[in-house]
């Protein structure tokens, strides 16, 4: 069956405006009689909750942390894109649209991406009005930086804490509505199922994580804003609690899961150090504005570094291989993430990795320090040939731009990145795949919406830097509030949804049974034991390079691991108390199902596109080979009792406003 994305007719640039002009609205008095559940309080859920409440709906918002402010969006570092063209460097809505579609390797839906680009500028206005302290120049105006895969400077930022500042903005907007009683906030609550009544999403089952109580919550519509599923790899840059549970439960209740295999492996993360490692830390992509990536040209230097005879700074300029600049002269260090990650893997696989594990490359700031230092020395009338003066001045500038990232690096690695190059390696970072949604952001279950990283919609097979924050806020502030109204206009006479129905009974029973099963299992292995094993299968066989053989093995291995989990997992403690192991167990159980679908999806897609790289489909130089003739579609999977039995539905992707080309950054 092919999917109906409900994209409105008309010219791409008019679609959204016309859509807004013609949809059904709910009048303010009626909004008071309508309840909306929002699962998640990150940029997507936080902004949606605040706006829906402000419009007059009664919002119930949920998060598993102890405060909405702690959602994983808080960790975003580098910035947020918007087509403001403040720099006068030729940016426009079209260009942002174009870059995003191209960056996504022509695997996203044109109409959604265009809408995203259209509302992007407004996000910045909105956030500034809320008091978000973006970086400014000395004239008092907003500053921009560049991110990978584009040729303009359109990224707004707040040092290395952009996500924090944007989320605190959304959090403050939520607080205003919480104070007015329009949002009821449920902290430390985890959604464990969605409840469907007469074919429509009408509520959720949630566990109060403090008391362990199972609660029923009803509403006229349910919005999932539960973030990405990168933790299926165990090690990722995501927060420890990030999970797929909300999305996966929805999938099992009829929401199709789209493109699960599109994962972003971010090129600049701190390399792993040992088995005890619990997560990986990102070094923002913004660092690639000023940092140059290299490995030694000669193996003898690699060996000398490993044995400690020499240090990175001892290697002469001509003996360094700035491999991104070499391979991609047009974009250099600012190629998109998928390209940069694969290039690092290529060098390390060839034996040029610079740490003990052989999985690290250098990110070097010495050129930038020198360049900035000279500029400052000139401005200040100091001696540009005095190395120390120049270095000190240069370091100050670098510090003002990336200070907190450098500090973070030093705390973790115990090396000073102002003096010696950073070591970095790719790590799992973001999931472009997610719950399938139409133009309205509605899933295949009526009344069930998915926004932010939880949906699949805007980034195709690869996301450009600084675009996730843009998408989260666009969905929450400016898109969903319209589209959901169109749906809810049918519900003005429905009245409150009862929680005493057989649908709620059944959903609650499933949840309770699963929790009891986990607690009573009394097996021999901890939850982390399984999570780590799953992570290893995913990384080795569904990671940066995938093969048919590996993916087939992965499917079998994950299935076996899942069976073993249900036989042998051990979850201490009780159901009716705060129980962190039980929380983890439920999440890992869902990852063990998603992982298999992930591999199945990757196996089905016989091409390389964006973050999905199949070794069989690559050029002799190692560049990805996309197959537009056969794979220009979104894979939307329908649950059929087992991940391996999922049924594929295709949404054809038509490009009418952009010429589909081989993506080249050379």
């Amino acid at each position: 069956m092919s999917m109906n994305s409900k994209v409105p007719d008309g010219e791409i640039k008019d679609k959204w405006t016309k859509y807004k002009d013609t949809i059904n609205l709910v009048n303010p008095a009626n909004k008071r009689n309508i309840d909306v559940i929002v699962v998640g309080t990150g940029l997507a859920g936080g902004s949606a909750s605040a706006t829906l409440a402000e419009l007059g709906y009664n919002v119930k918002a949920f998060c598993y942390q102890d405060s909405p402010r702690r959602a994983h969006s808080i960790a975003a570092q580098g910035g947020i894109n918007a087509a403001k063209n403040y720099q006068g460097d030729g940016d426009s809505t079209y260009r942002l649209f174009y870059d995003t579609v191209k960056g996504g390797d022509y695997r996203s839906r044109e109409a959604n991406v265009h809408r995203l680009a259209e509302v992007s500028a407004n996000i910045i206005d909105q956030c500034v009005a809320q008091g978000v302290p973006f970086a400014r120049d000395y004239g008092g105006l907003l500053d921009n930086r560049s991110f990978g895969g584009v040729l303009v400077s359109r990224t707004f930022y707040a040092k290395g804490q952009t996500g924090q500042q944007l989320l605190l903005g959304a959090y403050s907007a939520m607080n205003r509505q919480i104070a007015r009683g329009k949002i009821k906030m449920y902290n430390r609550h985890e959604m464990l199922d969605v409840v469907i009544v007469d074919g429509k999403a009408r509520g959720i089952i949630a566990r109060n994580l403090v008391t362990g109580e199972i609660e029923r919550h009803s509403a006229h519509a349910v919005v999932l804003a539960s973030g990405g599923y990168g933790n299926v790899y165990f090690l990722s840059t995501n927060a420890m609690g990030s999970n797929v549970t909300a999305g996966w439960k929805a999938h099992k209740k009829g929401a199709y899961f789209a493109n699960p295999c599109y994962t972003q492996i971010h090129p600049t993360c701190i390399p792993r150090s040992g088995d005890y490692q619990s997560k990986l830390t990102l070094m923002s992509e913004s660092l690639r504005n000023d940092g140059r990536i290299w490995v030694p040209k000669h193996k003898k230097d690699v060996e000398a570094i490993k044995s400690g005879e020499i240090k990175a700074v001892d290697i002469k300029e001509e003996d360094r291989d700035y491999y991104l600049e070499r391979r991609y002269p047009a974009f250099g260090n600012l190629v998109p993430r998928d390209v940069a990650s694969r290039a690092a893997k290529e060098r390390c696989d060839a034996g040029y990795g610079v740490n003990q594990t052989g999985e690290a490359v250098y990110l070097d700031f010495s050129s930038a320090i020198n360049r900035y230092g000279k500029e400052q020395a000139l401005l200040k009338g100091l001696d540009v040939n005095n190395e120390k003066t120049v270095a000190d001045l240069g370091k100050d500038i670098v510090k003002s731009k990336y200070g907190n990232l450098f500090q973070m690096y030093e705390k973790i690695v115990d090396e000073n990145p102002y003096e010696t190059p950073m070591m970095i390696y790719p790590a799992v970072h973001y999931t472009m795949g997610g719950i399938w949604v139409d133009y309205n952001l509605m899933t295949t279950v009526p009344g069930l919406y998915a926004i932010g990283e939880a949906n699949f919609s805007d980034h195709g097979a690869n996301r450009l830097g600084a675009s996730a924050l843009m998408q989260g806020l666009a969905d929450g502030y400016f898109v969903l509030p319209y589209t959901i109204g169109d749906y809810l206009s049918d519900d003005i006479r429905t009245g409150p949804i009862s929680i005493d129905s057989k649908e709620f009974d059944e959903a609650e029973k499933t949840v309770v049974d699963t929790l009891n099963k986990l607690i009573n299992n009394k097996g021999v292995n901890s939850v982390d034991y399984y999570h780590k094993k799953l992570g290893k299968i995913m990384w080795d066989k569904c990671g940066m390079a995938r093969t048919e053989k590996g993916l087939k093995e992965a499917m079998t291995e994950i299935k076996n691991l899942r069976e073993d989990f249900w036989k042998n997992v051990s979850v201490p403690g009780e159901v009716n108390e705060l129980n962190t192991e039980l929380e983890k167990a439920g999440r890992v159980a869902d990852f063990l199902e998603l992982g298999e679908l992930f591999a199945k999806d990757a196996l089905d897609r016989n091409e390389s596109c964006g973050g999905h790289f199949r070794e069989e489909y690559s050029t002799p130089e190692g560049e990805a080979e996309r197959d537009d003739k056969n794979f220009s579609y979104v894979s939307a999977w329908e649950y059929k009792g087992e991940p391996s039995k999922a049924e594929l539905h295709k949404e054809a992707l038509n490009f009418e406003n952009i010429e589909v080309k081989v993506r080249s950054y050379k």
Binding site: A75, L141, L282, T580
Partner: protein, 248 residues
């Protein structure tokens, strides 16, 4: 290295709680403090015992979820870091490490090392926002130029992660540093001006109501704050509060 951990265990809020000894061996200096606790917990689980409950999420010093009072210091012995960023290289073989929850009347223990910080949210709900609609009908962002100096100071104040180390450290359990950070952010920006008076009064009143103590300017909070939130913010809030009350 080998360590002797002394950890606060408390089954629930109504339980009395006590320190329990946990010797641990083979700790690598490259581990983070929380990874060391992960290893301890794996060991406990394999013996069928209940793991130690502690709050954490981002593990990179930004979400403010982790806490812990380590050897009498909020977020442990290192400066400018949260517990999740603390590394075992700050300890040495044979050390005894006391691990306790953040303690204050306004931060009751939920279980083991987990405390309830919802009072922090309620203070924000009392006024930590600019009352602007999120409908998108706002003026162009560059229509309000802001002096870089003020923008930077506002940013610095806004980097507070709401961890409550300042409260746990303060002998009066005062939340002044936390509250003043938000008040300062908006006091430094034109967007915050309109509601400045109500904001500071409401937030300060809420803070008192929640049972936080008075500030006696010991400055301990600034020292232990993982984000380097400056005492200047408290001074600024005091000025704002005073002038708001005069104008009242």
């Amino acid at each position: 290295m080998n360590l002797n951990l002394k950890i606060w265990r408390q089954k629930s809020n109504s339980d009395k709680g006590k320190i329990v000894d946990y010797p641990i061996s083979n700790v690598s200096e490259h581990m983070s403090f929380l990874e060391m606790l992960d290893v301890l917990n794996e060991g406990l689980i394999s013996k069928g015992e209940e793991p130690v409950a502690f709050d954490h999420d981002c593990r990179e010093g930004i979400c403010g979820m982790c806490s812990l009072y380590i050897n009498g210091e909020a977020h442990g012995p290192d400066r400018g870091v949260t517990t999740c960023q603390l590394h075992m290289r700050k300890f040495k073989d044979g050390d005894t490490i006391y691990i306790e929850p953040f303690r204050a009347t306004a931060l009751p223990v939920i279980k083991d090392l987990i405390v309830d910080r919802s009072s922090f949210d309620r203070i924000q709900q009392a006024g930590g926002f600019v009352s602007v609609n999120t409908s998108g009908n706002t003026q162009d962002a560059n229509a309000i130029p802001i002096r870089k100096e003020n923008a930077d100071l506002a940013f610095d104040a806004a980097t507070c992660i709401g961890c409550a180390a300042c409260v746990a450290t303060c002998k009066n359990a005062s939340a002044m540093l936390y509250v003043s950070a938000k008040v300062s952010q908006f006091a430094l920006l034109p967007q915050g001006e309109v509601e400045a008076k109500e904001r500071v009064i409401n937030m300060v009143n809420k803070m008192d109501e929640e049972g936080f103590g008075n500030c006696t300017n010991t400055g301990a909070c600034e020292v232990e704050c993982p984000k380097g939130i400056s005492l200047d913010n408290i001074a600024r809030m005091n000025r704002e509060f005073l002038s708001a009350n005069i104008k009242k």
